[in-house]
């Protein structure tokens, strides 16, 4: 695309951002045009030169200038449409309330920097499955720090118990949870299906003397099912359940929103000396991690020309590589790197899309990504709609810049 074109886009978009994106481009332009027009004509006037009637269809729409100084249309569905496209507004969900509940479902969350992980959401959804909409049963979300998004995820109550997710193998956590189950009727303890979650589930089960259900794929109000004996048979767990839910087998909570009110169980962790000392994490080469697992995916599209650069950047960032169908067809990346409806799907924390236009089918593959960053020359590309942050620029230029800054000494 020629520079002049690019520049035109920039200037346009600057105007747009100046108007804080509430005003759609076309209305802005219409306003500008309105200013240019001979006022008296109302869009109908005879051309001096040709003596023919001249009509401006746009002028038929009446523009006024609002107090805000922004142009506003009185009859035009267009504006409201655009706002809806931004996806922000949708009808608020009804809130499900529980008043002094007597039965409880305990959901123990891992959290990642105060945010619910995919596994945590599944965990809460599973808890919700068990509690249902029974006004007498409350889902309590336990975590060791404050979390956002609990109401949507299905928590009626929440409590922060510091040190809850300490992975030092001592039984303090289990003890605490046990005491919970003694002081109130717990129907189930649900954990995120992660190393830590499974661990606590098993050791709590040992503590309570019940059989845990790790990776339950079918969860109802009073039962959950796990698959065993090489898929030959199902184990149906009932009574007091200690479980983790198999990823992808619990329907997400949609129709309702929940109170997520603070809760005081009064339990706390008995300070105990542990012989296991956590020395922190060690990262492994990202390209060895499966796409579905990868926390950080670097995805290249047709806009990427320098694939050496792309690969170098992936290494430098320790990101997992991925590509669009076109890219994999062309052999720039192996087939198992293709993201999309007919390829693999990603649920990355960060999905950095470079030079990727984003066909519908590709976007299907990244629906569950938490944050999408896009670099693309075409402001009209579908990926821009999907992205949380988009940059209108040439992918290769940005890549080499990133690489330069990564290697450059601080």
């Amino acid at each position: 695309m020629s520079d002049s074109v690019a520049r035109r886009r920039y200037s346009l978009a600057r105007l747009v951002s100046e108007l804080q994106r509430q005003v759609d481009r076309k209305d802005l332009r219409a306003a500008i045009h309105l200013a240019q027009m001979p006022i008296q004509s109302r869009g109908f006037y005879t051309s001096q030169a040709s003596r023919r009637l001249r009509k401006d269809p746009w002028a038929r729409r009446r523009y006024t200038v609002a107090a805000s100084g922004r142009p506003r249309l009185d009859v035009n569905a267009g504006l409201s449409k655009k706002v809806m496209q931004a996806g922000a507004t949708s009808t608020p969900k009804p809130v499900h309330r529980v008043v002094d509940p007597e039965r409880f479902v305990i959901a123990v969350l891992d959290l990642e920097a105060g945010r619910l992980t995919a596994a945590d959401k599944t965990c809460l959804a599973a808890a919700r499955q068990i509690a249902g909409l029974d006004p007498g049963t409350a889902v309590i979300a336990l975590s060791d720090s404050d979390a956002v998004g609990l109401p949507e995820a299905g928590a009626d109550r929440y409590e922060v118990i510091p040190g809850l997710r300490a992975s030092d193998g001592r039984f303090a956590v289990e003890a605490a949870l046990c005491s919970l189950s003694i002081q109130m009727t717990c129907r189930a303890f649900v954990f995120s299906d992660t190393a830590l979650g499974r661990h606590t589930a098993r050791s709590l089960a040992a503590e309570l003397g019940v059989t845990p259900a790790i990776g339950a794929h079918d969860i109802g109000s009073n039962y959950c099912v796990t698959r065993c004996q090489s898929g030959e048979s199902d184990a149906v767990h009932e009574g007091l359940m200690v479980l983790t839910a198999k990823e992808g087998f619990v329907p997400p909570v949609l129709s309702m929103s929940f109170e997520a009110a603070p809760f005081q169980s009064g339990v706390s962790l008995a300070p105990a000396e542990s012989s296991l000392v956590d020395l922190g994490p060690e990262f492994s080469p990202a390209d060895d991690v499966a796409l579905e697992e990868a926390p950080f995916v670097l995805c290249g599209g047709g806009g990427v020309r320098d694939w050496q650069l792309f690969n170098d950047l992936a290494v430098a960032l320790n990101a997992t590589r991925a590509g669009s169908r076109v890219v994999c067809d062309a052999g720039h990346l192996p087939r198992d790197r293709q993201v999309g409806a007919s390829g693999r799907s990603s649920s990355a924390k960060v999905y950095l899309a470079l030079g990727l236009s984003g066909a519908v089918q590709h976007l299907q593959g990244i629906e569950n990504c938490e944050e999408v960053l896009a670099v693309n020359t075409d402001a009209a590309a579908p990926i821009i709609k999907r992205a949380d942050t988009s940059y209108i620029a040439d992918a290769d230029e940005v890549m080499s810049e990133m690489l330069r800054q990564l290697v450059a000494p601080e």
């Binding site: 190393a195 990776g215 698959r227 020395l279 697992e293 990101a319 940059y391």
Partner: protein
């Protein structure tokens, strides 16, 4: 602290996922592998193994022997005897510094709890999903497999029980001759505590023939308005949609890198 010397690996009989045939549990074998390697690297460390339960499937148990165990102790509690307590008693007697077990010897939700029951009886801390064991100047180091390829490092001061992750190094091929010649040693323990039958019934899940599993799809709120339902199907999830235009590549790069750091996906 004392130099770690004595390891015991809890070994169960597993099932091959492809056909229901019994075999050495692959992850238990990995636990044994970890122990054996540790033994090879640290002379003086001795590796024992214990199978709790009836030795119904001798061939599978012998495969463990084939990995280089001189002998495998078998603790076969009487029916009705609490296996974990029995095992715990046996293990504490021998005063092992480290007890290893596979994270889940078989598939199924109930699997993998036995080591915890034992640990509870022995009051040992449990470190789950270990992939790596090493001793450097008297200190035992372990690595744990976490989500997304992360390995958490731990320093172990004192006795503990660890479960070994399937991501640990693959188990060696059993030697036919060693398997043939190794000895299965019957042992017993002083704790013959009985299981409370009522609790038994209460806990153990009911078995039934497998029903088809159903993955839950991204469904849409059936009570939402028709338009919303339609949009949910046809329009894909949209992001915050912040658009930066006419920014210099240099600036973009800086911003992206900063964002990546903020989200903690790039190592500092």
């Amino acid at each position: 602290m004392t130099k770690l010397t004595r390891i015991c690996v809890l070994l169960a009989v597993g099932v091959n996922p492809a056909n229901c045939r019994g075999r050495r549990s692959s992850v238990d074998a990995q636990a044994l592998e970890l122990a054996l390697r540790f033994g090879e690297q640290n002379d003086g460390a001795c590796v024992d193994a214990l199978h709790v339960g009836s030795p119904s499937d001798e061939r599978s148990l012998r495969d463990y022997l084939g990995m280089g165990l001189g002998s495998l102790s078998i603790l076969a509690p009487e029916p009705g005897v609490e296996p974990a307590a029995t095992a715990a008693a046996h293990l504490s007697e021998a005063e092992y510094d480290l007890v290893l077990a596979g994270s889940a010897a078989r598939d199924g939700g109930a699997s993998g709890v036995f080591p915890y029951q034992v640990a509870k009886q022995m009051a040992l801390p449990v470190l789950p999903d270990v992939t790596h064991l090493e001793e450097s100047d008297g200190v035992l180091m372990a690595k744990q497999a976490r989500e997304r390829g992360v390995r958490q490092k731990f320093e172990v001061r004192g006795r503990s029980l660890m479960t070994v992750s399937p991501l640990a190094p693959a188990a060696r091929l059993p030697s036919f001759v060693l398997a043939r010649e190794g000895t299965l040693r019957w042992v017993n323990s002083n704790d013959e505590r009985r299981i409370d039958p009522s609790a038994e019934v209460l806990q153990s899940p009911k078995m039934r023939a497998a029903l088809p599993m159903r993955k839950s799809l991204a469904t849409f709120d059936p009570n939402a308005s028709a338009e919303d339902r339609l949009k949910a199907v046809t329009a894909l999830k949209g992001g915050a949609g912040k658009l930066h235009d006419a920014m210099e590549p240099e600036l973009i790069a800086t911003e992206i890198l900063a964002r990546l750091k903020a989200l903690g996906v790039t190592p500092d």
